[in-house]
Assembly symmetry: C3
Homo-oligomer: 136 residues x 3
């Protein structure tokens, strides 16, 4: 893994979603050392009344806009605080370039699972079995 | 935070969703001491075959109805059992008033993340950086 | 519990979803000793651009197909590695029969919550209160 769930307002183009997907994947590879091709993401496109968020709480200088998105990521092994911080900064920088999202509009939340809590295919617990497999 | 995902049957009005949102936010503020304006919620409105639930398992005297909802909340620091129990009771009481949901129809599940697993904006780890910030 | 979220491509029949639901429930009962009727599941049916997955990463001999699904399960008590492995294998075997999904197309990820993090109805913390209640 990781497995990411991205929640945002309805109405963006497939290209816009692709930009988010690519920037997220690149940030994971470069900051979390996630393997290339280890990409599993779900997008939830929501109506205005289905995505409720405060425009100011721990936000930036400008209020959050309608481009606001929540990126919830489940990872498969612990990362230390410095590594997480580097990931947040890198992801926000990449999203600013593609698809072009302001830093104010990016909320990230990570949940950490155990290595034996993943089965990628065929009912195998690949992470638990192969300590040498790169971690999700 | 917290970050809440609410799953329910399709067909409710925006006012009904707003009632859930407000009751949930108030319960978090009053029982978990969540800051005002720290509100981040996603609603998943589902067809009948997309929301599968048992009408009786650990339920109330009456079976669960089509108003059944699942409130899944990710929080940013541990709460003790007594605090969680008070939150459940308070949330159910508030939802009974607005938008008017029976206690039988409210399922709540909490997941706990670490303080450094949240970035609210601009790639910063606000909770990890400021011990004085109220906890999500 | 457990509480399961299943993400898959749009366009399957209600019978197909029911097959997934039944196979998942049976695997939970038989491998995790989940109580009968303890069934709570949400299906997210997604457009192609909303479900992003690599066709090969830790996959099978054949690439993942458009039938690919992600089963994310929150459970209420820890299970050991052997129990999880048995569950993965059993679930994949059952899904192959009904609704008929190849092992390559099944990704499973588990998250573990605490017993006091569940309220099934009426604002009660049934799992925390009754140690004798079967675990979610």
């Amino acid at each position: 893994m990781p497995f990411a769930r991205i929640s945002l307002r309805q109405g963006k183009s497939p290209d816009y979603l692709r930009g988010i997907s690519d920037s997220l994947q690149r940030a994971l590879e470069e900051s979390f050392d996630t393997p290339k091709n280890d990409r599993f993401q779900v997008f939830h496109q929501l109506d205005a009344e289905e995505l409720v968020f405060d425009r100011h709480y721990l936000g930036g200088e400008r209020p959050r806009s309608d481009d606001f998105l929540i990126i919830a990521i489940t990872i498969g092994k612990p990362r230390d605080t410095a590594t997480k911080k580097a990931f947040y900064r890198h992801l926000v920088d990449l999203l600013a370039v593609s698809p072009g999202i302001a830093g104010e509009d990016v909320l990230i939340v990570i949940s950490t699972s155990q290595r034996d809590e993943w089965s990628f295919s065929n009912g195998l617990a690949q992470m638990a079995d192969a300590a040498s497999v790169a971690s999700p």
